[in-house]
Subunit: 245 residues, 2 copies
DNA sequence: CGATTTTTTGACAGTATTCAACGGGGGTGG
DNA sequence: CCACCCCCGTTGAATACTGTCAAAAAATCG
């Protein structure tokens, strides 16, 4: 079982039985490297596969007709990317590498075989998809209903929680490889205004910025400004069907 | 097969075989009526079931700490509502009836049995979940990256397309049971500003408003203002596994 | 080290919100 | 049946917030 495989990803939520491990091992994942700024998959590209991030960061985004761009979600190490491929023939958005990155490539047909032979894993996959949707709801509420300062704070809080949840040390802050322009695309702001808001968060003693990292000086204060709701996001795996032997 | 059942919903995408029909019929859906303004399921309520709208409109929303509200999605007749229940023990948002409504109630355990015995239907369900996620992406881009006028126009376009897709006649316009305050909650605007934008759309000859309905006078113009992308949203059912007999 | 990108700052314009007031319509209770 | 009231829609004026434009400093890349 290689690091950052589908087995890893699913094994984080349930204890896999041998037959499930074998089924996952048989899927034949491959690996692909993407360099910073490159597109792993452009919008409208054929969507025959989905990905799990092994290292580096990616984001999914859409370029609008007037040249504006919206970044939908960040994909940090250990997370899925491009799972909308499951439903569509062509990718509805682009996948771009924030930093040099490596992803595990999973063929859609492999997912189909999981649905056919491993109902427990298939259902877990469906659940994770729903969980991602709920995360989007929080983004929507942040962008639709809070101030610029709150949105920037919320993005930082989100990254902090996800890295911590993945077991990464955030003692000396979180990395911030996104440019302020990209942060703007993710929060629905202009790069200039992102700059002002970050400066203000720093002036108010909530964060400190040092070459490519953000140290969180007052996590509670930052969460309050962000209107961050620490919803109980753990997916409920208690009622999954039994594993198939 | 009652109107607006799960079999109806799934049958819109694939031709169900007999065994699948039987399996769906055995799920034992019940029905529930909700009156205008009532909550079908409050935030944090136990999430043991999901719904299909039979008649009327619902929306899912979240109330923030400062009293502001964000409406995430409308649920029109024939659509799912509350499917996030699949992943969580408690509802991450509230389900509220816009008009008097009737929903089909589907127990989560029924969904589990689909995953165990009807892999094709389970996978279709997962696909529909992904499709809803992509619809959210478009909402996010609209709210994050377009003007107030565009957002209101986009909401109207969205409703128009969905009703038309459901086979409803939109010749003399679409119903608009949402208050301007609710439209604001859905678009991230204040009720006052929604009013101004609707007035402007009317003044510019794009729409006409008559007691509870909106007639679309210039659909192409409205779509242009909304930055509406008529993405090819049809889910790709071509590679689903074969039905289980 | 030179070129390019990113960050930073200021001044100004434009957009959306807030506050306030008024009219209309539908439902409720007398 | 009518009066009342509350909610909703509408409008104006003042304010606050965010975007735009421009330019320079700092950082990064090759």
């Amino acid at each position: 079982m290689s690091q950052g495989s589908l087995a890893d990803r699913l094994g984080r939520y349930v204890n896999l039985v041998d037959s499930e491990r074998e089924a996952l091992a048989a899927l034949g994942e491959s690996e692909r490297a993407v360099s910073r700024g490159a597109m792993l998959r452009p919008e409208q590209a054929a969507a025959r596969e989905l990905y799990i991030v092994r290292s580096g960061w990616l984001y999914s985004s859409l370029l609008m007709a007037d040249g504006r761009r919206q970044v939908f979600s960040l994909h940090l190490p250990g997370e899925f990317a491009g799972s909308a491929a499951l439903a569509f023939e062509r990718a509805p958005f682009a996948l771009v590498a924030v930093t040099d990155a490596v992803v595990a490539v999973i063929d859609k047909l492999a997912i189909r075989s999981l649905f056919e032979h491993q109902p427990r894993l298939a259902m877990l996959l469906a659940m994770l998809g729903q969980a991602e949707r709920v995360a989007l709801y929080d983004r929507l509420a942040s962008i639709g209903r809070t101030s610029a300062k709150a949105r920037v704070a919320a993005l930082i809080c989100d990254i902090l929680h996800r890295l911590r949840g993945a077991g990464e040390s955030v003692k000396d802050g979180v990395p911030m490889p996104l440019t302020q322009e990209e942060i703007g695309d993710a929060t629905g702001l202009t790069a200039v205004h992102v700059n002002r808001m970050m400066r203000r968060l720093a002036d108010e003693g909530l964060i400190a910025r040092t070459n490519g990292r953000i140290r969180i000086l007052d996590e509670a204060g930052l969460a309050a400004i962000a209107h961050h709701v620490d919803r109980f996001t753990a997916v409920d795996t208690s009622w999954l069907p039994p594993p198939r032997k």
